[in-house]
């Protein structure tokens, strides 16, 4: 990619799960287009590495360690963002959890962890941020979901169900916050080459099988997901809300 030309000068963005994979690519994409970016995740060393990369390219960035399942830390994240940058224009809810388990094997606390991060934390953080966006008379929230929100896959029951819930939460936030000029949409990747999904693509035979089921003939790279997020965060998407753009190489066509 590298040639994205959306302009986010003067805008402030928060990217959760920004330490690696898709979140890292989104943070770099936003910063590369002029946004000041708060990169947050649980692992300090990873977000500091991303911050370093952004700073080396002349971008403005603030790494903040956050456990999204602790409400007090969500408040701290938003407070610190406002303290340093003074506003929040774009929130990318990218952080997610998953356990590759069958429904018969998945533990109850595993289900809760998945839903707490993928759904509840998105609701809580989004409404903290929305309060500032309402004052600012507008903003953009982009939730990262998955093709698994539409179609079932083995071992992905909690993850897929939570992302389907997030898809509806996207619509509900769009519905409730439209009067305030807050547009809320989702981006749904297919299998993407990240640490998060390593078990699914690191086996060459399995990876080949998966790629052959995708019309564009390959799985996604983290950079593939960035364009849709930047588009939805930009003025170009001024009449789009409550929608999901699947960045899936055509996975959902069959």
């Amino acid at each position: 990619m590298g040639n994205v030309t959306f302009n986010f000068e003067g805008k402030v963005a928060i990217v959760t799960g920004g330490g690696r994979g898709i979140g890292r690519a989104i943070a770099l994409g936003l910063a590369g287009s002029g946004a000041q970016v708060v990169v947050t995740a649980r692992t300090q060393s990873e977000i500091e590495q991303v911050a370093k990369e952004i700073e080396e390219k002349g971008g403005k960035v603030l790494p903040i360690v956050t456990d999204l399942t602790v409400p007090a830390q969500l408040e701290e994240l938003v407070r610190e963002t406002i303290k340093v940058f003074g506003r929040i224009d774009i929130l990318v809810n990218n952080a997610a959890r998953s356990f590759l388990r069958s429904l018969l094997e998945l533990r109850e606390d595993g289900w809760d962890k998945v839903f707490n991060t993928n759904v509840k934390a998105v609701w809580l953080l989004s409404r903290l941020v929305a309060k500032y966006m309402i004052e600012q008379k507008g903003g953009r929230i982009i939730n990262i979901t998955t093709v698994g929100a539409e179609k079932a896959e083995l071992g992905m029951a909690a993850y897929g169900s939570s992302k389907a819930a997030l898809k509806m939460l996207t619509r509900c936030m769009a519905r409730e916050w439209a009067p305030f000029g807050i547009l809320v949409n989702a981006v749904g990747p297919t299998l993407t080459r990240t640490d998060f999904s390593r078990p699914l693509w690191s086996n060459p035979e399995l990876a080949k099988h998966v790629a052959s089921a995708i019309p564009l003939g390959r799985i996604a790279e983290p950079e593939d997901i960035v364009g849709a997020v930047l588009f939805l965060a930009s003025d170009a998407a001024s009449f789009i809300t409550g929608q999901t753009i699947y960045v899936d190489g055509g996975s959902l066509t069959t």
């Binding site: 019309p215 564009l216 364009g227 998407a237 009449f239 190489g249």
Partner: protein, 267 residues
């Protein structure tokens, strides 16, 4: 609205049908601003010439051809002319569409459905049929079809129009699946209520009844959209920013299809 992108389509060649007005015209102008060279088509030659004038005003290069997209030879001639003039086609926007009559089903003898399907469905089929071999050979290409929210739900158009747009959405998926292996992407946009020549009767009726403020009230943003807002979504899907997106039908509808939107519900 000012320019948002810059040079997104530098060096690309785009064919746009239904370019005499509304979304097609806005797409042509924005594509030209982004650096694309254009071949534009419509049955309305006066409107087409005006679009071409506006494109040249932006410094764009454009050729025009009167084309009834429901006639395969005319579509083939359009693609052939674009290819002989520019020697390649990177982007095809199947935007031509008609609304059909407000016939109730008991009056319908099939002729209106055939006319609407001829333009809205077969128009896209013919264009993709004739451009696909070229794009497949080059192992790249982006196609965007203008569908409609009417293709997703009821109450947004005539029976024939809605069914034709649903067909176009499904054809978007099947074509995306067939052409994906050649790195040719096929997507659709689904506009909600947009102020264009096609929707002029709706706007005039609302004005007559003094209900202009109700226009767009069915969507969450409580307004109608502008052609440019759809054109920018078409631009995104046609651009390399969307290089891994195919088979999608993206509503550009102010949230219309995302909610039940029951009147009077308040919290």
């Amino acid at each position: 609205m000012g320019k948002i992108y810059c040079g997104r389509l530098e060096g690309k060649v785009a064919v746009i049908t239904g370019a005499a007005d509304g979304i097609g015209r806005a797409t042509a102008i924005i594509f030209a601003q982004e650096g694309a060279k254009l071949a534009i088509a419509d049955v309305n030659e006066t409107g087409l010439a005006e679009t071409a004038r506006l494109v040249r005003e932006e410094g764009g290069e454009v050729i025009c051809r009167r084309t009834d997209v429901s006639v395969e030879e005319e579509v083939k001639a359009l693609i052939d002319e674009a290819l002989s003039h520019y020697s390649c086609i990177d982007i095809l926007v199947n935007n031509a569409g008609i609304t059909g009559n407000l016939n109730s089903l008991d009056q319908e003898d099939g002729s209106d459905w055939q006319r609407v399907y001829g333009v809205n469905v077969l128009g896209a089929v013919y264009a993709i049929k004739h451009v696909a071999p070229h794009m497949q050979a080059r192992k790249k290409g982006a196609i965007v079809n203008t569908a409609s929210v009417a293709g997703i739900r009821a109450g947004a158009g005539t029976n024939a129009y809605s069914a034709s747009k649903a067909a176009l959405i499904n054809f978007t998926m099947t074509a995306a699946c067939d052409l994906g292996g050649f790195n040719v992407r096929v997507n659709a946009v689904c506009p909600g209520l947009i102020k264009t020549g096609m929707t002029r009767p709706i706007f005039e009726l609302a004005k007559e009844k003094g209900k202009e403020d109700k226009l767009g009230s069915r969507c969450e943003l409580r307004r109608y959209g502008l052609p440019e807002e759809v054109a920018r979504a078409i631009l995104f899907l046609a651009s390399d920013d969307a290089s891994y997106i195919t088979g999608q039908a993206l509503p550009v509808d102010g949230g219309n299809t995302a909610s039940l939107n029951m009147p009077g519900m308040k919290f």
